[in-house]
């Protein structure tokens, strides 16, 4: 009985080492990579539904409705002495020209994007939409 227990324990430790901790610390890029998301906003808004399609690395996103490509980065965790740069699950994506910017921010959570805000920002005004998304199977 003790031998089985020892083998099981060793196996569990080996699994943790082999995974490099990745299974437990996926950042926003890992969570959205290659995903296409169906997003809903306020039904009374200009853009009640839209699609977000992330590239294989989860570092850029495009949308047929927005007609732009946005570069994405993750929130960080840890501190200045021990930083985990882009180790977080908040994803922020942005694109801009000299007159305006488009931003998307959301929390990657399982197969969803929650607490999302899509923004069109310019010096003269701002147009913002709340949203949440489900990853398409």
């Amino acid at each position: 009985m003790k031998t089985i227990e020892t083998i099981m324990r060793a196996g569990a430790i080996a699994l943790v080492i082999a995974s490099g901790g990745h299974a437990f610390a996926a950042n926003c890029h890992d969570l959205v990579a290659g995903g296409t998301y169906a997003c809903l906003s306020d039904p009374d808004d200009e853009l009640p539904e839209f699609t977000l399609a992330f590239d294989a690395q989860g570092k850029t996103v495009t949308s047929p409705q927005l007609l732009v490509s946005l570069a994405c980065f993750c929130s960080s965790t840890g501190g200045v002495k021990k930083p985990n740069i882009e180790g977080g699950r908040i994803i922020a994506c942005a694109t801009a020209d000299e007159n305006s910017a488009v931003t998307i921010t959301a929390r990657a959570q399982g197969d969803a994007l929650v607490q999302g805000t899509l923004g069109g920002l310019a010096a003269g005004g701002r147009e913002l939409f709340p949203f949440f998304c489900k990853r398409a199977p």
Binding site: L40, S41, D42, P43, K59, T60, S69, A71, F73, C74, S75, S76, T77, G78, G79, V80, P83, N84, I85, E86, G88, I90, A92, A94, T95, A96, D97, E98, N99, S100, A101, T103, T105, A106, R107, A112, V114, Q115, G116, T117, G119, L121, A122, A123, R126, L128, F129, P130, F131, F132
Partner: protein
């Protein structure tokens, strides 16, 4: 004993009312950063930490870093369409316009005195120039 319990319940009610009266509602990111200056430390992968200041306008909608204005939005809340609340959250994301080589963006979790779990980056031609962890404290 019953008297003590009643007193305790009354004290809790009074405390609750006082909190309500003092405007202890959930503040969104704009309210948390409005009209303040943060001193921030950032560090890139393998680099040395560097400091900079982020000042916010009175509405908490425009941040300025090194003279570059960034336009800010808050995260939203709610997970179904009737319950979505625009910009009710505390995650702040700010981006500059593309000023030809300078296109700054950052995101962070705002509290009354800090910006935490932040990342700041310069996006040039759709590509990031090594994002940095960013941590800020209120300049008092």
């Amino acid at each position: 004993m019953r008297f003590r319990r009643t007193m305790l319940a009354t004290a809790l009610s009074v405390a609750g009312l006082a909190m309500g009266a003092s405007g202890a509602h959930a503040e969104n990111c704009h309210e948390l950063v409005a009209n303040v200056i943060h001193v921030c430390t950032a560090v890139r992968e393998g680099g040395s930490p560097f400091e900079f200041a982020v000042s916010f306008d009175a509405a908490g909608e425009v941040a300025t870093i090194d003279g570059v204005p960034l336009l800010c939005s808050c995260s939203s809340t709610g997970s179904s369409t009737p319950r979505l609340e625009l910009e009710a959250g505390r995650q702040i994301t700010c981006t500059s316009l593309d000023l030809g080589g300078i296109f700054l963006a950052f995101t962070a979790q705002a509290t009354r005195k800090t910006l935490n779990q932040g990342t700041i980056t310069n996006i040039s031609g759709g590509v990031f120039e090594s994002p940095a962890l960013m941590k800020c404290a209120l300049f008092e």
